[in-house]
Amino acid sequence: MKFTKEDKILLYRNMVRGRKYDEELVELFAKVKVPGMWHSGIGQEAVGAGAATFLRKDDWLEPTHRGYTFGLAKGVDGKRWLAEHLGRATGFAKGKGGHYVAPKGSGVLPFGGTIGSAFPISAGAGISAKRLGKGQVVVCLFGDGAAQRGTLHESMNLAAVWQLPVVWVCENNLYAVTAHLSQSMAVKDIADLAHGYNMPGVIIDGQDVLAVAEAVMEAVERARAGEGPSLIECKTYRYRNHGEGGAFPTSYRTKEEEEEWKKRDPIVLFRQCLLDEGDATAEELDAIDKELVQEVLEASRWAQESPWPEVGQAFTDLYAD
């Protein structure tokens, strides 16, 4: 896929928007304003933005629990997402789901607290996409931890045997909670798993948003053309701990490793790329940054000022009529 200047600016905006929401959530969590959990995805924005930005509105995206970037890039309203995350009545599910739910119309598939459950759901969306014949494609994001679940095998196998239009995109940030990949998987590269399902598997620099977008969209077009699933492994890194709140040790990785990765920050890298290529000026990018900081502040204020749901809401919505 050829990226226009506008495409690139959109990618930049989507990465920065994801980061700003993420930073806001880290802060809200520290101020004890998040009732539940927050798994920050700061450092991984290139994967979410690269995978989701150029999908069709009616394509399906299976997110991970980490960060907001992919969902925002798919068109989810961040303000209401945040309200849901804060457990407020103005959230997508009136606060009943937490940040694991997004509006169906945005094309975000159900995700949840059980890591690895995304795989069969994505395969199922792939069955719909193929049978309904509207040329839809499913992109399933998953982490290296999820890759350790048996659901991966059943689902990748089904998608391959049935030639479903699913693109499996791994955000490999090297650690499943606190365990390094080398402690948990016998292969070094998750892309190697593709051999077992007779599908293409590639390794991408997950800090390079253009590389991610290019690889994902190439696989998306293959899937759209009826040529079946593919696997893309994006090597990336999360800057923060598995979850906010100090429940996790920091000793499982070194400060040196963290600093090494931060030298290749996906937003800083792409900003320099845009400047080098003459796609934007520093002033233009600063203006985007400023605008998004403002957007997130307003969304956060709105979410925090939103009412709690009426208690009666706890007892509704179990069954469809």
Binding site: L109, P110, S117, P120, E154
Partner: protein, 327 residues
Amino acid sequence: MREISMREALKEAIREELLRDQTVHIWGESIESKGGGFAICRGLTDEFGERAKDTPLAETAIAGSAVGAAFTGLRPIVEIMFSDFAFVCGDEIFNKMAKARYVYGGQDGFSLPIVVRMKVGGYVSIGAEHSQTPLAPFMHAPGLKIAFPTTPYDAKGLLKTAVRDDNPVMFFEHILHYGARGEVPEEEYLIPFGKARVRREGDDVTVVAIGYMVDLALKIAEEMVQDGVSLEVVDPRTLQPLDMDAIMRSIKKTGRVIFVDEDVTCCGVPAELMARVYERLTEAGKPPVPMARVGAANVPIPYSPPLEKAVLPSPEKIAAAVEKVLV
């Protein structure tokens, strides 16, 4: 009226729904090559192509893909060959199917139309992991609907209703019922969920029997006529929703009730039903009635025929429970 087997009745229901609605699809192990585990779907692939399809041997993918497909526009019917295997895909059934609508806050008329068909039941010596009737775990999961037909007529009408329901439905089929024959009209009909059926009228004791237990209860009811005991046999047909009113009506008439279920007795459906009956009565300011339950013993289902017989409910065990409440 013509008589057909439950196997044929189930196939007719699936075929008619596949014809009626293009978004209805069915998949599961050996669906195209064998018609599924118990040959219900034989021939459907010839008629409907990929809409009736074999999956890999992978229950998690079968159930999980149903969630994804139902979310995105299909109305999948999936087959889990033995209900024992439903525990392989517990996350997909209990965490996803059951909870989805609630955690989405019902937004935009959220629905998850899935039918999970599962064979249940023992009495055929196929061991601890092929013989269970695990009803209680599903009834313990708010958000699921549960149907368990006991006649070919009910099987067809309830399955068609299940396919048209916008919620995930656990549809249980007893292994000893597949060959059972009964009257089924040629013309189309549906049976609503939440409507029990009195299978036999009687005056002395209400027997609420679930699934194949209805057959055992009807058998012992005939035998007990000689002893001057008249049993009323009530088949709930669906456990979620549950027709408590019908059960209470029968109890009002007989003043005594026993519950019969093939599932393990501990924390089983009868335990829940006994509690509900007690609550209904006390809330209405009425005295409790004699109650008893019959279920499988609290052990895994053994393989050897005499051992299995000792563990599972039998007409004799039902009769013993009847005697208990008659005292």
